[in-house]
Amino acid sequence: MNTEIPIWRIKYYPRSLNEFCGRDSIKETLQQIIKQKNFPHLLFIGSEGIGKTTLAQLFAKEFLGNYYDTNFKLVYANVPLSDDERNQAKSEAYISTSKIGSIAGKRITTPAFIQIKVKPFVQLKVIGDAPFKILIVKNFESLGSDQQGFRRLMEIYGSNCRMILITTKISNIIDPIISRCQIILISRVKIDRFKDLIIEIAKNESLVIDDTVIEALYKVSEGKISKAIDLLQLCSISGKTIDMQKLYEHSQRFQNDLIKNLLLLTLQGDFPKSRELARKIISNYKYDSHEVFTLLLKELNKLPLNKFTRNKLINLIADSDFRAIDGRDIDIQISALLSKICLFSEYL
């Protein structure tokens, strides 16, 4: 077997805090914490794909040292539970033994996610010589009202297990959680550190790349390192020299063309076909309705349209996204948007 890792983003994945690219002030704070061997619950905030989880994980690894494997867990709040897990959570519900008060004799259920993924870990005592366990909860905002369940958990089991909550949207986190955590803001990597990293990779893979191209790469990848590395690898297939033209060509291909196609098809006014395509995209990528709407909006802004058309389309997308918040059937909401765009296309 080839020992060389063929996927670059995995190959150049940082193995320690020092290797992690840029963000020196945050790294310093974290290193300070490691020295003190103590920290409160943390809340990592930053936009998508810039390395929050990587940072949190590397931090936990260095904090726990040898006891990392047994005292660490990473859970994804946005990945739904399987049917079996759901059933298990249901079967673990119990009837309150309290004889007075509002919960007397009622069936007590804990939110399934907490019951299955979180509670068993935080209840278990620390194994080995670590000061406490570390739990990372990714996409914490997607828990919605289940966040309430974390309030007590963080207090009761706080001495046993510290949590690092990771989120992209601070506005969706409830206040009691924010007040229980130390907030750490994570910015995207600065361009000069990004350059250093890319030059190092280029050296390793014997690529030829100049400064202006790296700057363009930074722009195209929006400062997301894994995305930049992906793009670099794609470009490298057709030769070791990487120039502007290649970069733009690949970044076009690399981006999700399906949504753009969907938008174009809909603007031609064929409703049944565009609904078919939308369903295909959703079932392939398993997007939820909000994701589809934001992707559509993103693609819309790239299309050359006059300002009235653009305004009208944004209005339609916003309206549908708004309805989908309470709506129960995302297919209806997405079909509604498509049908309205189809109608609108007749006036173009």
Partner: protein, 448 residues
């Protein structure tokens, strides 16, 4: 005469070879049902032979040893003694067990929901056969036995009290392999689930069912059912082969001269057909009162009905303006319904009714009136279905997750599309990646 035998029994397959096998899964992995069951039975007999021999030695030892030195007799482990087949009704779970027994020349001892299953009756029926072999067994070379506990999810109520512990005990002490069948998950059966292997059985694909029904019609010499009729029957039964065969018998042994379609319609007037005709009528109404009275008098669950309307809307409305108007109403109805469920503000319900039925039906302005028969389609897009990966995607993700921390969602939306672009741009890359991750054919397909 032969007319009196239900066709379901008449055409029950005698051997696995003549059976169209349903696909099956064990904890998410696809398996071959026939191999799995045959292996299960073979392994059971190997295991039980070993254990019996061991126990004979222990018993001999115990007879001479003093009490505190006595050894416990061995018991077979539950997952080797019993297996559970789970799946919707009528897809051939019982049939496969009988066919298997026939192939292996075994006798089936069956208990199902029609027997009362108190502790005593189960004990009487099964324990005797499981614990001891009858006297006759020593004289004649009798058949091996297979215990089938059908419909175990039907174990409930007062009469079946104590059945679960009895079955557990039975599994521990059995001398014969046990196969259980069940339609759905039951919390009360959790102790059983914990101990044994569960096999998920899926319905047959429609083309397989079509082949089977065609064969039966040929044998019964029935020629006036068209393929379209058969498809309609199969459609309606939703994977339930037993239901399909029962329907066929019902139609063909009714009055053959009558229009077939009418007969089919009459079979399931209560459920699907009602929706079919309701949808057709609804798209033809011209006033709100008509639309209201249609939805009022039907028993169809509205929770369900508006999804049918969503699916069939483009079949009945053609002009973009009409479609957009209809969806304006339908999406508002959906939002209102969601809000009712969230806030329990049931005062909003009348709007929901008028918007999803009347609002949609009355959006017809530019589309010409419907002429002729329009086929109503089942709602295909099931919402409320949670994010879930196919087996191949899951295995692929797990391989990646061993070396690289990534959530299933990121894997599907971010990494997999990248790997796909990478490996479609050069064959060499595809080979390197699939060699490195040791991908099998199915997982490789995800990259193409």
């Amino acid at each position: 005469m032969s007319n009196k035998i239900p066709w379901v029994e008449k055409y029950r397959p005698q051997s696995l070879k003549e059976m169209a096998l349903s696909s099956a899964k064990v904890s998410g992995h696809r398996i071959k049902l026939d191999e799995e069951l045959t292996n299960f039975i073979k392994n059971f007999y190997i295991e039980i032979k070993k254990i019996n021999e061991e126990n004979r030695k222990i018993r001999a030892y115990n007879r001479t040893a003093i009490e505190k030195d006595q050894k416990e007799e061995l018991k077979i482990s539950p997952e080797k003694a019993a297996i559970l087949l789970e799946g919707p009704p009528g897809i051939g779970k019982t049939s496969i067990v009988y066919a298997l027994a026939n192939d292996l020349n075994m006798e089936v001892i069956e208990t199902n929901a029609s027997d009362t299953r108190t502790r005593k009756t189960i004990e009487r029926r099964l324990k005797e056969t499981t614990k001891t072999r009858g006297i006759m067994d020593f004289i004649t070379q009798s058949k091996d036995k297979l215990i089938l506990i059908d419909e175990i999810d039907g174990l409930y109520g007062v009469q079946d009290r104590g059945a679960v512990p009895t079955i557990l005990e039975l599994i521990e002490n059995t001398q014969f392999p046990i196969i259980m069948c069940s339609n759905e998950y039951k919390t009360s059966l959790q102790p059983i689930y914990n101990k044994i292997q569960r096999v998920e059985v899926h319905p047959l694909p429609e083309n397989e069912m079509l082949k089977i029904t065609e064969k039966i019609l040929e044998k019964e010499k029935i020629s006036n059912l068209t393929n379209e009729d058969l498809e309609l029957i199969i459609d309606k039964n939703n994977g339930d082969l037993r239901g399909v065969i029962n329907d066929l018998q019902g139609i063909s042994q009714g009055i053959m001269e009558k229009d077939n379609k009418e007969l089919i319609l009459s079979l399931h007037r209560d459920s699907i057909e009602e929706i079919f005709s309701l949808i057709r009528e609804l798209f033809q109404v011209t006033t709100l009162t008509e639309a209201r009275s249609l939805t009022d008098k039907s028993d169809v669950d509205y929770n369900f009905l508006y999804k049918w309307i969503n699916e069939n809307l483009p079949t009945f409305l053609k002009a973009n303006r009409d479609i957009a108007n209809a969806y304006e109403n339908l999406s508002l109805a959906d939002e209102i319904f969601g809000r009712i469920r969230k806030t329990q503000y049931w005062g909003l319900l009348p709007y929901f009714y008028d918007l999803f039925a009347g609002g949609v039906a009355l959006s017809r302005k530019e589309t010409p009136p419907i002429k002729g028969f329009r086929r109503v389609i089942f709602p295909r897009y099931s919402t409320g279905s949670y994010f879930s990966l196919t087996t191949a995607e899951k295995e692929f993700a797990e391989k990646i997750q061993k070396i690289y921390e990534i959530s299933p969602i990121e894997f599907l939306q971010d990494l997999l599309p990248f790997l796909k672009t990478l490996s479609t741009s050069s064959r060499k890359q595809l080979k390197i990646i699939s060699d490195w991750l040791e991908l099998d054919a199915k997982e490789k397909k995800l990259l193409k």
